[in-house]
Symmetry: C2
Subunit: 408 residues, 2 copies
């Protein structure tokens, strides 16, 4: 008998579509990761490329759907939760001012570059603004995964990148608010100010009060009868703050990251980081593959669109390198490059901005294709460069209390 999706399809000897999707995505991701590791390239890039290959652009084995989107979102939420678990609030305070500068310049330069090139290309003003807004985005998950696999999340540069990504997301939210209002007619500054205040307030509240609140609640949580109560509490906090973040308008991953950070200190002596890692190990490939699957090569039938996509991608890389790099310049050239490159991937965040633009009729299908290409390409390009820029660093992350896998 066949469980299916509790759906009505009579599927005796037909195979389960859900399982087919899961199996193909997971195995393709891991095969590609293996090949990339052997080529001494970061596994992350391989997993995204696997998505391009099995997705609609090439083999069309699997297409992006509500389901792959959902798994993808849960995957990246767990990744950021895990990264948060390894990041104490104090680690971020210490680099707060630098992270702020990196975020601000990393917003201004890409926006200006994106806006200018689209206008120069003869696109409409509103289209230029939306492409600029998409270039502001940072998909911190990609960089976090690369650095995490290298054991480098505790580096000062890694922490600046994480802090800057959080701030970048809030700034991006505000820009998107302004831009969306422009597309609809007028800008409601009062509404946008409220959103800004909520986003900043939420983030600061969790950073400043979260860890203390968690420490206070912990003894009560541990007294609960439900199995694995502290882990259950951790998962609930992760989902809960991710949800609250979306009500405010911040990305769900920011909420998950803050939840992890609130738990970081108290979970250190528990098995939670290790358990969250197991969940991430299962779910993250769906996130990476799903990004690759977004690529739509059929939007590039004319040469002008191809050239524009490549130009926009190059500018997307350069603008973060220049903006964030300049902000980090006092730390030395190498760190500046590391931080700049860490902010390059646009991934799912850039895609969402483009989708909003499309839904508001502010960008047409061609410009949407260009942004999609830029989002996927920056996400593919950054990991190999990151691996190179960070290759001389010593592993600094604490091993979890429990060894990751005794045998491999």
């Amino acid at each position: 008998m066949h469980i299916g999706e509790f759906g009505l399809a009579l599927a005796l000897p037909e195979g389960d579509k859900l399982l087919f999707t899961l199996f193909v995505m997971f195995v393709a991701a891991k095969l590609a990761a293996e090949i990339f590791e052997r080529l001494k390239q970061p596994a992350v890039a391989g997993e995204i490329l696997a998505g391009v290959i099995i997705g609609p652009s090439v083999l069309a084995l699997v297409a992006p759907s509500e389901l792959t989107g959902a798994l993808s979102e849960i995957g990246v939420i767990f990744l950021l939760f895990l990264v948060g678990l390894e990041t104490k609030p104090a680690d971020i305070f210490r680099v707060g001012a630098r992270a702020m500068l990196v975020a601000v310049l990393g917003v201004i330069v890409p926006f200006v570059f994106g806006y200018a090139v689209m206008l120069a290309w003869g696109q409409t003003q509103i289209e230029a603004i939306f492409v600029g807004a998409a270039m502001v985005a940072t998909s911190v998950g990609i960089t976090a995964r690369v650095l995490g696999q290298m054991g480098l999340l505790s580096l000062e540069t890694s922490r600046i990148i994480l802090g800057a990504a959080v701030i970048d997301d809030i700034l991006g939210l505000l820009i998107l608010g302004v831009v969306s209002s422009l597309a609809k007619g007028g800008v409601n500054y009062a509404e946008i100010s409220v959103t800004a205040a909520l986003a900043v307030g939420f983030t600061l509240l969790i950073i400043f009060v979260g860890a203390r609140a968690v420490n206070r609640i912990r003894p009560r949580v541990e007294k609960l009868r439900v199995g694995q109560s502290y882990l259950v509490f951790g998962f609930s906090l992760c989902l809960g703050l991710a949800l609250v973040a979306t009500y405010i308008g911040v990305a769900a991953i920011i909420g998950a990251f803050l939840a992890g950070m609130a738990l970081a200190e108290s979970a250190e002596d528990t098995d939670m980081p290790h358990q969250a890692e197991a969940v991430t190990e299962f779910l993250l490939p769906f996130f990476l593959v799903n990004i690759g699957m977004q690529l739509k090569l059929d939007a590039f039938l004319n040469r002008s669109a191809i050239v524009l996509a490549i130009v926009v991608t190059i500018l997307a890389v350069l603008s973060k390198l220049i903006g964030c790099g300049a902000a980090a310049w006092p730390l030395g050239r190498k760190k500046a490059m590391q931080i700049g490159m860490g902010m390059v991937p646009r991934g799912e965040v850039g895609i969402v901005v483009a989708q909003i633009g499309l839904s508001l009729n502010a960008v047409d299908a061609a410009a949407y294709g260009v942004v999609l290409f830029m989002a996927v390409a920056t996400t593919l390009i950054a990991p190999p460069f990151l691996a190179r820029l960070f290759k001389d660093e010593q592993r600094v992350d604490q091993e979890p209390v429990v060894p990751i896998t005794p045998i491999s």
Copy 2:
């Protein structure tokens, strides 16, 4: 910014529907589990009841959807994978003959009872056959979870239940094949024989050759460069065999269970059971809550339907107790009762049979509602009785190499 489902919804300060669903289902399940634990009732029953309460029948906070169905399926697949990891093929051989008898009588008696009561109630022949087929089903996940939480999966009785559930699924598959063909017109015995041969062959192949094949492949898997290669291999095998199972027509959970069993010996000295447990801990609540959410109380507006639903549920419990109990009688009355009760939950498997009947127009909405009620009710009723029947047994399961949670 907001990831959403990479969808087109403009969702600035609106909140993410996916995360709302996840959060409500997870937290409701765990709150109910806590309450049930305090009442000295099994958490499983609480989690299913949470589904009834937050589902369409009562609060309507969340409705069953493709997404909840998908999460549910992944959750129960991981559960059975985990159970398989704790079950070596030899454990099942040893009880094979007894399990076979339990399965066969556990199929015949419920089918006859279900068929007879529906005919006596004045329903059509084909409807009676479908209700009989739905009463054959066993949702082994529920029993496995209860016994697993009590640390009793290695008991002889637990192993008989697991073995019988696998055989029950194959028998149920064949019955469903015959019944579906009847509903469509004629029975194609050649096709059903092929299905039977495939299902039995697949199961025996994995049981007899699986573990050896895994042991032989292991050194090569461990040499792979991809991170956590053995865990990745385990997840892939789980998804892969679950998928193959559905192509044959067997339940995906049977494939996942067989994958776990093939890995049981070789994974013993690794962290895989512990990691699979973390994933299960996150995903299983969605399975349990989703079962509860299926209940549709609005089908019970007339008294006759209510009475029939209750009668069918009582017969569903009695028929497994009598059928499986009789088969296990030589082991003593207590074990016979334990085994009979272990086979009582119909859960998702019964629901799928009813859905197939509905899609073939073989059962009407009222009969469908009755089966749904029976499936959810047996799943809710069994855990408290199981907990009572097994309460004097000593915990026998090996603790995983790595402690489950150091702190709680």
